[in-house]
Symmetry: D2
């Protein structure tokens, strides 16, 4: 931590700050400059709470050098992690994982058809929401436990592991029973109690970036899960909110190589929610793989025009088949890219 | 709903769209223009799910005229609502409500001191968090039920109603027992299950705007609560996330008069979280009152430099006293402003 | 400047960095921490270009303590500046300046009517655009020099100083001849050549914040003008671009008290462009005055429904008269607020 | 255009609106709904100025169906354009163009070395700034005409066409003389006078997206150039400003396929300015090609650590050589992707 004093700070004010640092059990190292004094803080084992410092007279700014996360950081865990879920591995030197399926579980038939479709075209994991976060209360809210059973059944029928979203703590038990991976959605990325309880289950978790979450907040959310002793976290970029409204969100692909530098956790990309437009899903999925994503998650529906949610961004069977074929031509090249 | 067809859409495509509209039980009114055809959709009683329309061939865009909320809209409830909570009234023609207190409940003594302080200087309601949403897991997380008791006890000692944040459904019972108002924080604004369960309690709820929530999403979140039969919702603007980082968030004061046009619900402003800087709290609090806020919520701590959270944005007793004195000079003038 | 090394940086890498700092004529002060080493840089007289440092092996981050502006900073010029333009003073302890008039100069008659109207209701300065920045080339682009003459003539007729926008360097001569204040618009805030040339004229300049400009960039743009020896700069907040689209922009009122802390320059607020909605102009104008703006700039048109641009956000005579009356009740109270 | 009336609008208000539409020479088609009336506007040949409508009593919202651009739109020009500049072709079915070179022209030697380097590794066009937009006035501002000559000379020496940025109208003549392509930077995307004058030259123009420009504004800016009779426009995505500060900007790759749907103009990507980090340039450049960019523009410097600007995001010769080698393995695959 570096404490920057005002240009006009008095010696006494500088002394008061160094005293406060010492009172926290840390070491203060004043650095007198030509324009102002700064005070380096040494001895901390991680992020320091600056509350008692920031508003002392004469302090202009407090600059943090340590980050509020540690377990997820590559600094302290240089080796990239492989997360295994339902027999599928996410991580370096593994083939990118293709997760596909409808936005919502709508019926037994729909899920069986969806599972058959995505399996046939080469998916490795089946997705489908039994509990749905919907912006307004007057929209379809999901089938609940019934939906979980259809999802599991469809996955088993085709030999695909499954993933589904958890929205509240009480759902954890059932979802852990029926699903190989727990998904925590963008709206819950900072639902800290849910993160902790999900962490305690030890189940593999796919954590989506909140729609206005910084990378630091995203990694800090993952830190909540790892802090509970659960290292099985897969990060997922799904677009951030910007001023641009032509696309649903702005897919921030640069976070993929950046997070791979900063963290040892695997990261996948969801181009369907990010763009909200069917025609953009394929290009952005391929781009995600090229920048180093460990997998992609795409919405596929046997009959998108009849989908109960997100039809406009869902691929149909042919569209998905074509995308997988293209990915399969691209992936072998990755080692040379 | 208006469906805009592509310039080059064929008659057959237009017909397929009107058929799809009719199949939804609605009426389609084609409007042939010189450059393209648009199709008006009539007969809907509210927001229409456009999934089955948006991706039909030849469709360029679907424009919604109805909003995804109705109960909160002033269109259907022209009279402004007064929400009463713990004997205090929020709404038009009521004196603005001043909610004050520390970020967190830290101890019995601290809460008693805080309550005495804010009461003495003129607050109408006491705030204090027993459950804290913290970005990283290594920060102070709140005292839980013990904290609720200290809050209640401090409020009772000074005759102040109290407000505190709920973070998960299981906390609702205890919080309803100890607190006059439930606060739902920015991070949980789209935690739809929490909204619904909180709605069912019938308890007054202060709902904060999510940090990247549009006004439409904010009002839709309130709609979840009203849909459960609970009309006692107070909206709260607390700053949105923008590219500007000198302040913690960007306080969007224009939403106050705008929401007063769009909705009948009362709205208050939290300048402490919005700015994150003590020196800006006073100016923005006064501005909030001038634009028509029905109250303000400010962080006040007996000893901000020792606060366990958000000390840098907390006022001390003197600062708060000065602010209330200024507000008391401003408020009588409001009728003429 | 503080250089933060990676956790795993070697002693040799630290030495290479300190050598590079010394080669720049500065002093390097290594601060070995328990987790990593940081290197303080001393001796600089202002902002240091970090290009040669940032990518040296082992460097994680470079943190700037000095800002890229100096002349506009209150650090080095603690006394607030008063800027006088056309006989009107902007600054501390001066009555807030009310600038009003139409978006565009449309005709001689319209400007005379507008001048009469705003003068009658209490404006101190007349605005009107002769050169218009329009998003698309198919919109009205302004009357040019003819418009400047109408503006001057209308101002003179009512004894009002005038302000108008400059869009390109060649216009400077004419605009300086006809207008008391040069306005540099949001889209040109980083048109650095225009800033410099406008600076050289010595004419008073109202500089609008770019729609996605940080405070640091805004102050740095003003620094360009002051660097040319022209201290007569009035800053103007006019809303920033965010994800919220219900208003044209998001008016960031917290910059007013913040910039008053950071800079000695006066700052005014334009609530018309910020909100884009007539009904919000009045509330936000009053709020601007309450947070300490040294003036406001509002669009007023004798007949807004016939305005060639921005009619939807323009006040008519009655609306403006009412706003000024309200401001006149508010302003005497400011000293006690 | 669709005019949406308030729920409570009277018949008289509806009539007044239809009268106003008719007065504009257009046709009004009222669409009475169960909740409110909307009025379709027909007969317009493009974007309609809504000023006289938006604020009529009873009007809730005006929705535009036509866009403020036409010449750049694929609607009216379905065939993709090929833009040729200095013997290089940008567009569909052409090999992606690689533009490379330093941020600034620093000296004759540096440019000759840079040209040799980028030519050797496979670039098709040489970049280098003679006039530099710098955030603060105290940074290196470019060599001016001298720089243009060095750039031309270096290009000629290696047989590479060149591109350089124009910042003000007076520079156009010289830049057209020395450079094959005019670049208009992000900060000048809405410098409408510069767009028009650059348009009049007929010279090929690379137009960068403004850092907070919507796609609609970006295409409207290009419309300014085409309106002057100059169809030789190459669009360039270079990152937008968001709340995320770990990268310099957020590269919005989804605009590439989207703009290819909306416009017939070619589009290239600048991953260097977008990310501001050397390690991200390669991954994002490859991703740009995969999503369909017609070229990339990257900063390459013979000795990045000594660069006078943007060294931190510049590749050195080896880094660039490796990137081009990777692109050359990727490009032949594009037809199958």
């Amino acid at each position: 931590m570096l404490i920057v004093m005002h240009h006009s700070a008095t010696d006494e004010q500088v002394r008061a700050v160094t005293d406060a640092v010492v009172a926290m059990g840390l070491t203060a190292e004043p650095i007198p400059g030509s324009l102002r004094t700064a005070i380096g803080v040494l001895g901390n084992q991680g992020y320091v709470d600056d509350t008692t410092i920031r508003e002392l007279p004469g302090v202009r700014e407090v600059i943090h050098v340590s980050k509020p996360y540690k377990l997820v950081s590559r600094d302290f865990h240089p080796k990239a992690s492989i997360v295994e879920a339902g027999g599928v591995k996410f991580g370096d030197n593994q083939p990118p994982v293709i997760i596909a399926g409808p936005c919502s579980v709508e019926s037994e038939e729909q899920m069986l058809a969806a599972a058959r479709l995505v399996k046939e075209h080469g998916a490795h994991m089946l997705r489908g929401g039994a509990y749905k976060p919907r912006t307004g209360p007057h929209s379809f809210q999901g089938l609940g436990v019934e939906g979980l059973k259809y999802l599991r059944q469809a996955g088993d029928a085709e030999g695909l592991p499954v993933i589904t979203e958890v929205m509240r703590i009480e759902q954890l038990e059932n979802i852990c029973r029926y699903s190989d991976v727990l998904q925590i959605g963008a709206r819950n990325m900072q639902n800290f109690d849910l993160l902790k309880e999900a962490g305690k289950t030890g189940h593999p978790i796919l954590l989506k970036r909140g729609m206005s979450a910084t990378i630091e907040e995203f990694l800090s959310a993952a830190e909540y899960i790892l802090s509970e002793g659960n290292p099985n976290v897969i990060l997922c970029e799904r677009g951030i909110r910007t001023f641009e409204k032509t696309t649903r969100n702005t897919l921030d692909l640069s976070v993929v190589p950046l997070i791979r530098e900063m963290s040892h956790l695997p990261i996948v990309v969801d181009p369907s929610h990010a763009t909200g437009r069917r025609s953009l899903v394929g290009p952005m999925a391929k781009a995600a793989i090229v920048v180093g994503a460990h997998g992609i998650m795409v919405e596929v529906h046997p009959d998108p025009d009849k989908a109960l949610c997100d039809g406009a961004q869902s691929l149909d069977g042919d569209g998905f088949g074509e995308l997988v074929a293209e990915l399969n031509r691209l992936i072998p090249l990755l080692e040379e890219l």
